[in-house]
């Protein structure tokens, strides 16, 4: 089973990359689960035609009890991708990090993996590794590899470095390790050079180069990934290539 966690600066395109990667895996015939680990709960929306799943935290809040089945807190999206969102508390209250841990515990109790038998699980994690809850997706038993999404923008690279450091801090704990960088281009000056410089210094390979494309926005406006909207376009090809590479590494 391929288990990946996708981290990166807020707004850098983590959810876009994760959803497109999920769609690519599914297009290649894999059984995929995508779990959005962000209180905003918008990770999977473009796999669901713009019709969002009820986040786990919302379900718990509304029912004041735990769900009885995976179906209560998931929705089937593009090419049978199982979509789950942790969601979070009312902004400004509670503890979103703890919410992620509780969601994972709940998914274990509901025997998600045993029942759904996925080939690929993708965790799309909010911004930085700000507390224990947001490190939960890289704990043993969850993601095995981390993909860091960054552009050549200074703050995105800064966040990528922080994420890398956080993951490296856990090297004695059998947590996930950084597999590489997804360069999500923003067309800043000398972008490739800047990202490559960071990647080289950190010792991470750039495993995908996603061009800045109007197609992504166009299809997201329609509630779709670019893979769903136009699987033949260059952006889709890049995601499909990445998916193929990761599948090859797993076999």
């Amino acid at each position: 089973m391929i288990k990946l966690a996708i981290y990166g600066k807020g707004g850098i395109g983590k959810s876009t990359c994760t959803a497109n990667l999920a769609a690519a895996f599914a297009t290649l015939g894999k059984r995929v689960i995508q779990i959005g680990c962000d209180p905003k709960a918008d990770s999977t929306i473009n796999l669901l035609g713009g019709s969002p799943v009820t986040p786990v935290m919302n379900w718990l809040r509304e029912h004041d009890d735990e769900p009885d089945s995976i179906e209560d807190i998931s929705k089937i999206g593009f090419r049978n991708i199982l979509c789950i969102e942790t969601g979070g508390p009312t902004p400004g209250l509670g503890c979103a990090g703890r919410g992620i841990i509780t969601t994972f515990k709940l998914l274990e109790e509901l025997e998600l993996f045993a029942k759904y038998q996925p080939d690929v699980v993708l965790y799309d994690v909010l911004g930085d590794v700000v507390c224990g809850g947001f490190a939960a997706p890289i704990r043993e038993g969850y993601a095995e590899k981390v993909l860091i999404v960054t552009s050549g923008e200074k703050m995105a690279l800064y966040a990528a470095n922080n994420i890398g450091n956080a993951v490296n801090n856990f090297e004695d704990r059998s947590y996930a390790t950084v597999r590489g960088i997804i360069m999500n281009r923003r067309n800043v000056e000398n972008e490739e050079e800047k990202v490559r410089s960071f990647a080289d210094s950190a010792g991470y390979p750039i495993i995908a180069d996603i061009p800045r494309s109007a197609d992504i926005t166009k299809y997201e406006d329609m509630g779709k990934t670019v893979i769903e909207g136009d699987p033949e376009c260059e952006t889709s090809k890049r995601f499909l290539t990445l998916a193929k590479q990761l599948i090859a590494e797993d076999t």
């Binding site: 935290m57 718990l60 809040r61 004041d64 400004g92 209250l93 509670g94 503890c95 919410g99 509780t102």
Partner: protein, 378 residues
């Protein structure tokens, strides 16, 4: 790992301080904490639990409440309970879990006040500080809510601040302090917060002076000095000589003269461990009645000016142990649970402290007020 207690227990926590100080004041106290350990706040730290009713509640905080920041559930539960129980006020205080999720108790208290129309206080306990902090804040907030300035003073009247079983147990000490005040011509006004009538409490602003008998009363005394011009004196009338001295000083401050603190840097071969104001008072009593020089180790928050140069404020067990192992130490006066820190050749005079050893030695907490103490400290 400084401040780690390997051998000795820790003093009871701020949450218990809140419950203890507010126990008899007619309010509803809600500790925002998980259910299952309620007895920590009440039965273990509250000897009045079986003899006096009080509205102490636990919110039964759940993991989901913590994640969701489910303040509304807490607020509506409290409002419903208040409608049923009709308390005079509502106090809401925290514990470790709300501390971790940053619950805003001021805002919660404010919402409850708006919905119920009752006076409320949001207290900032975390369960990680000593009872002094919780009791002190609770009394201060009570005074802010209910006590106002009065130009109509009751001649010779004195409030007692800082009376809780955590520092005095449930023996006759507080009534002995009342008797001592009466014997010296003072009128006992409010006693915060044991065995006082509601009308006396509300008349606290009419007192001419405050007597602070533990650190838990200090913040409220200081507030009443600043806001109402009521002078205060810190001390417990322990022994004969110091009780006389304290009465004289009380007269002085009522007559608008300055009180002279008795405490002197004296050293000596005796060490007292305990709550600051009470320990300093015992040291003063020993100096006057027994001509024994003692210095104090205070492992709790205390106003610095209470201590002399020879006294120490030490929180770490290892630091206390080091101090007790000095060659000059011959006698230690402390709670029996300090015994493991005391060298075998040093005499321990047991002085149980409810906030430290709870019910273990509760029946051995002495009333030392205004009486000969030579025998006890022999």
């Amino acid at each position: 790992m400084k401040n780690l207690g390997l051998i000795t227990p820790c003093y009871t926590a701020d949450t218990s301080g809140v419950c203890s100080m507010l126990y008899e004041l007619g309010g509803m106290v809600v500790v925002h904490d998980a259910s299952g350990c309620n007895s920590t706040y009440t039965t273990h730290d509250e000897p009045r639990w079986t003899v006096k009713k009080s509205m102490i509640y636990i919110s039964a905080f759940t993991e989901l409440d913590a994640i969701m920041g489910n303040d509304e559930k807490l607020i509506s539960d409290i409002c419903a309970a208040a409608a049923d129980q009709k308390p005079k006020f509502i106090a809401v205080c925290g514990s470790p879990m709300p501390m971790m999720t940053g619950v805003d108790f001021d805002a919660i208290a404010s919402e409850i006040r708006i919905r119920t129309g009752l006076p409320t206080m949001g207290l900032h306990t975390t369960g990680t500080h000593s009872y002094i902090d919780g009791a002190s804040e609770a009394l201060l907030e009570y005074v802010k809510l209910f006590i106002s300035y009065s130009a109509d003073k009751i001649p010779g009247s004195v409030n007692i601040l800082g009376a809780t079983p955590l520092d005095f147990g449930l023996n006759t000490s507080i009534s002995s302090i009342r008797d001592w005040l009466a014997e010296n011509g003072f009128t006992v006004n409010a006693v915060f917060a044991m065995d006082s009538q509601p009308e006396d409490l509300l008349n606290a602003g009419k007192a001419e002076a405050n007597l602070v008998i533990s650190q838990t009363g200090y913040a409220a005394a200081e507030y009443m000095r600043r806001q109402f011009g009521i002078p205060y004196l810190c001390g417990v009338p322990i022994g004969r000589g110091y009780a006389l001295y304290l009465a004289e000083q009380l007269r002085k401050i009522i007559q608008k003269s300055s009180a002279k603190p008795f405490r002197r840097a004296s050293g000596g071969d005796t060490i007292l461990i305990g709550e600051g104001i009470q320990s300093v008072s015992i040291a003063n009593a020993l100096a006057l009645d027994k001509q024994t020089n003692a210095h104090v180790i205070c492992p709790l928050p205390v106003t610095e000016t209470m201590l002399s140069a020879c006294d120490r404020q030490l929180y770490a067990e290892e630091d206390i142990q080091t101090e007790l192992h000095a060659d000059t130490v011959k006698t230690v006066i402390a709670d029996p649970l300090y015994r493991p820190l005391i060298p075998a050749n040093v005499k321990l005079i047991e002085l149980p402290h409810f906030a430290f050893s709870g019910r273990c030695y509760a029946d051995r907490i002495p009333d030392l007020i205004n009486r000969n103490t030579e025998e006890y400290f022999a």
